[in-house]
């Protein structure tokens, strides 16, 4: 697994996976739909799959002394590595954003608060489940997986923004708050989000392994 992960970083990873980590700084923009930070992260996974296909990575990897299951697991390790890195990179920028602009509100979307991180984690887990198993059905067709993953992210962002922004009530007031006291109460949202991310990604991996096992290379 260590060798396959090395192969992923050395050969397979698309430069945007590194580059888009910088986009964590987008939360510094006072009025911006912050979910886009993690949307870009999902997009970079698509680019990585696209690059793997164009580089015929699966032909190269298929000839190595590794099982197909490990090939899938190494890709998931890479995806999780970059998604968690994106979450971690965004934290200091979010803190800076909250401190530099404590009173202003973001009319373009959710505030970069604790709940935002939990909701973003769920979004990435959902993307993993809606994109990667479909990709591993063929390991080369990307249109339908992109449609599936892209649709999920779009619908998810719309619902999350609606709940936190546009449907007035206690829930939106809670989710959209950047009051330090409320943010403490948002911690369970973050933890549940991370747990859901883990479960969704695990389900995606199991499904991808099953699908890829059936693929003739």
């Amino acid at each position: 697994m260590k060798n396959l992960f090395y192969k992923e970083l050395k050969l397979a990873v698309h430069p945007t996976m590194w580059l888009f980590l910088i986009l964590s700084a987008l939360v510094l923009i006072p009025q911006y739909p912050y979910f886009l930070v993690f949307f870009y992260s999902c997009l970079s996974i698509f680019f990585c799959a696209l690059q793997s296909r164009e580089n015929r990575d699966y032909l190269y990897t298929a000839l190595l002394p590794v099982s197909k299951r490990d090939v899938v697991r190494a890709r998931f390790l890479t995806v999780v590595f970059f998604q968690l890195l994106q979450l971690l990179f965004t934290v200091p920028f979010a803190v800076l954003s909250l401190r530099s602009n404590p009173l202003g509100s973001n009319p373009a979307g959710i505030e970069c608060n604790v709940a935002f991180f939990g909701l973003s984690a769920v979004m990435m887990g959902g993307f993993n489940l809606s994109f990667l198993p479909l990709f591993y059905r063929t390991a080369h067709k990307l249109g339908w997986p992109l449609f599936s993953g892209g649709s999920f992210v779009t619908v998810y962002i719309c619902i999350a923004e609606a709940l936190s922004q546009y449907i007035p009530g206690k829930l939106s007031a809670f989710l959209d708050s950047k009051d330090p006291e409320v943010m403490k109460k948002q911690v369970p949202v973050l933890l549940c989000g991370l747990l859901l991310y883990a479960l969704l990604t695990l389900a995606a991996m199991k499904r991808s392994e099953r699908n890829f096992e059936k693929v003739s290379l």
Binding site: K10, D57, L63, L64, P65, S216
Partner: protein
């Protein structure tokens, strides 16, 4: 000792099927795997490696079930599927740096020597290499971990005659120490005349012959004669019959030659045998 044993390999696709493909490869020998395009050579090789899941059949490497011990068997196998056509923008040294990590037996000195022998500059990118040089790079990586079995699919396609001759020399030197064996598919039969010990001939997904090269050559005679000598009985026996204004030419199984005394029956080369056998299909 049998290095590779393939038993009853079957795989069905719409319009094509591998039909109980069986053969075995002995230690220290080179087997040519021949057949025309689409005969099932690559599908057989991919089925051996598990890249294609066969419907039935078994593959053993040195007595060990290949599918059940895939990773271990792969470590003992050097694989080449044509030229390197992956990671075209990557430098050779980067691909090699990744590849060597998967093989505990990777011999870096041997790899460096192969690069020198093949005049390969590992600072170059794959896309900067010619087709022949890409095959050589692929071969260097397949050889560098000194595998027991080399499984090569069309290694000589796209190479000029000099490079092909060089490769045949390399194959012979690889098996000379006795510990290694080569199975390579090709439709360039003249390559096999130079180095193969045995021939496995596949046609339409079925193994037609799996014999020593001499036995394969001796199995058929090229028969020719005048129009009056072409009897109905002979027509029924001839393979790849071709008639012309002066007479005919065709292939006859050697054991049938005695049934037709007086005919001009000559030894012929493997390429001629294959051409006649394949022509029969079209007739």
């Amino acid at each position: 000792m049998t290095v590779l044993s393939v038993e009853g390999l079957c795989k069905s696709y719409p319009g094509f099927a591998l039909d109980h493909v069986s053969f075995s490869l002995e230690e220290g020998s080179i087997m040519g795997f021949i057949g025309r395009n689409g005969a099932g050579k690559t599908t057989t090789l991919k089925s051996i490696l598990g890249l294609v899941h066969p419907d039935s059949g078994s593959v053993k490497l040195c007595g060990v079930d290949y599918a059940a011990h895939e990773a271990e068997c792969r470590r003992q196998t050097g694989i080449l599927f044509g030229e390197v056509d992956y990671y075209l923008s990557a430098k050779l040294r980067d691909i090699a740096a990744v590849t060597r990590r998967f093989y505990p037996d990777w011999d870096e000195d041997y790899y460096r020597q192969l690069l020198r022998d093949f005049s390969l500059n590992d600072a170059k990118r794959v896309k900067e290499l010619s087709a022949g040089m890409r095959v050589k790079f692929s071969l260097a990586m397949a050889l560098a971990h000194r595998p027991k079995l080399l499984l090569l699919d069309e290694p000589t396609s796209g190479l000029d005659p000099v490079s092909r001759d060089e490769l045949m020399g390399i194959f012979l030197s690889v098996v000379r120490d006795g510990g290694r064996s080569i199975l390579f598919s090709t439709h360039i039969i003249s390559d096999l005349e130079k180095c193969a010990d045995t021939i496995t001939y596949i046609k339409g997904g079925r193994v037609l012959h799996s014999l020593a090269v001499d036995e394969f050559r001796d199995a058929y005679r090229l028969v020719s004669g005048g129009t009056e000598e072409l009897t109905e009985e002979l027509k029924g026996e001839l393979i790849g019959l071709r008639t012309h204004s002066f007479g005919f030419e065709g292939l006859l199984p050697t054991e049938k030659c005695a049934d037709f005394p007086g005919l001009c029956a000559e030894e012929t080369d493997m390429e001629n045998i294959m051409v006649h056998i394949e022509r029969e299909k079209e007739a």
